[in-house]
Symmetry: C2
Subunit: 336 residues, 2 copies
């Protein structure tokens, strides 16, 4: 059901019935290591390239989510997924191997919630029985493509973020048990003329704020309706900007109830600059840590707001500012 312009309410109880999460070596040493299904010690994961390692991450996350339910890929109607590598080849090649009818979703690091919103929409409206959805990213692949090969040892400012090596996938269905996806808000592109590609958190904060405030207004709930609002990968700087912007708009959220996946994933002594980022960041935290907390009833109503910076190395070199976007998905125990 459409609420307002851009929010869907899901009445038919689509649930995340299974998940798969895979991480890399830095994630193995992080704060949420226990919440991963599979952790790799080596960044190459026995593959010949970082891009193929990323494909492996996505494939393994898919396999784990399906195997937990004792299902087969043939039982799944659609695979909705995307990543940050040019032309999304890791996802495309993973889709080649799982052979599930596939729609590629591309909203940078906001892809995880955009794709989860779609998956929930299809299941809610009987357009699918089972949808597999998720995202991945790989530190080496992303650094090589967007910045410099890591071997150069280029220095970074403290505003920059650390791309997560990991993939997180969820299986959405009405059949089975799990926390329910109750609503979603599709964001619009926001661009406040930030142009520093080494400070994406600041660029993305206004998109997160726009989507959160739209979501609360269209769903007609107070910010305290949720136990927790979790942004995708704003990092330290973006998180504090977003908190201030929300409070300026009269949305009085307690900072303990406003977290960021990029800040939850690593320990304070890990050298990840302003925090984690990448399309896999919100996916591994959502489908790993948060999904477990929802299943344990430690959390009961959460809003996940993955954020994406829609720039490219070319748009940055052509001196353009950074358009950003955020999509919100609410997950609740007990439904709407």
């Amino acid at each position: 059901m459409l609420l307002g312009r851009q929010t869907w309410l899901f009445n038919q109880k689509p649930k995340i019935i299974s998940t798969g999460t895979v991480g890399g070596p830095i994630e193995s040493e992080g704060k949420l290591a226990d919440d991963f299904d599979l952790l790799h010690k080596d960044l190459f994961m026995k593959q010949p390239s970082f891009e193929q390692a990323e494909q492996q991450l996505i494939e393994d996350a898919c396999k784990i989510a399906i195997q937990k339910q004792k299902m087969r890929f043939e039982d799944v109607n659609f695979f909705l997924s995307g990543d940050l590598v040019n032309q999304m080849t890791p996802t495309n090649f993973a889709a080649r191997n799982n052979k599930i009818p596939f729609l590629g979703i591309s909203n940078a690091c906001a892809t995880s919630t955009g794709a989860l919103a779609l998956a929930s929409y299809f299941v809610d409206t009987n357009g699918a029985d089972f949808v597999l959805t998720g995202t991945g990213s790989h530190h080496g692949a992303v650094e090589k493509q967007f910045r410099y090969p890591t071997d150069y040892g280029a220095q970074k400012p403290p505003t920059s973020q650390w791309t997560v090596t990991g993939a997180g996938v969820g299986l959405v269905s009405k059949i089975g048990t799990g926390p329910e996806i109750t609503s979603a808000t599709i964001g619009k592109v926001v661009d406040l003329n930030q142009s520093d590609p080494l400070n994406m958190g600041a660029a993305m904060a206004p998109a997160a704020v726009d989507t959160i405030s739209t979501h609360l207004a269209e769903r007609a709930v107070d910010v305290n309706y949720y136990d927790l609002i979790v942004t995708g990968d704003l990092g330290e700087i973006g998180n504090s900007i977003a908190l201030e912007m929300l409070q300026d708009q009269g949305i009085q959220i307690n900072e303990n109830k406003f977290k960021d996946c990029g800040l939850m994933l690593y320990k304070s002594n890990q050298e990840v600059f302003a925090g984690g980022s990448g399309a896999g960041c919100s996916a591994v935290v959502t489908y790993g840590h948060l999904w477990k907390k929802m299943n344990n009833k430690q959390l009961n109503k959460i809003l996940i707001v993955a954020t994406g910076a829609l720039l490219s190395p070319l748009s940055a070199s052509q001196n353009q500012s950074i358009p950003t976007i955020a999509h919100a998905v609410s997950i609740e125990n007990g439904g709407v």
Copy 2:
């Protein structure tokens, strides 16, 4: 309504109520020039780069589609779109300017029908009143990114295709008149181990065949149900391979009823090798030429099957084969 594993039947009469199509200089001299709303004589379109020219194409197509209905962008719920440039910046920047809640769709040149399927699904299930959807491509931007800068004058084999400079957009709604979108089949990735990036038609033909045969089986209609089946951009070689493969499977389609957007767009004396291609190819033909023919009742039941090659320059240089995909959408006068 879900039919089989991967086909949706639309019962609530979502329609393409308006379209906008924009083309470049080569398209101005083509066979379908009269079917464009706007044609540019210059490849730069007064922009400083090819990528920004592509953004302009998409923006203009959106504006035209909306203005024909005397609407505003604020009236539209969602914008579903994508393109071939890394990180889809032309589409992302167009979405920044139209400010419509945005989901980026990325299935290479199959994006046009993938996004139209989604748009129709949302309207059919009351998840949106108005959805704007379409794709664009730009010859200069794509050559520069995927092959060589055009200034080099690199030679190409006759199996290669010519990337269309153009954008096509449709406005989907139940409110208003226009041909109805009656069903859609989301394709799965097919890879028969082709690896020549200068012969994409041959690589994509099996994906088109897989989606067409699945569509006919799941919708339970004979191939002759349709007046015309139009593939996205298989070109001459892919078109003849697909025809033969369909006939081998016992799907007896007359070759006059099996066309390809890449072969419809240009005149035979234009030097476009095996035909047109690019994400804009199927979009300009669908939302221009075919939409007019449907409105005039010269055609009444068509199936559009846009095809995409999911490779990247990197995956090709890493010696990987070309995964491909196709999504089918049926458009009919008089509904289901």
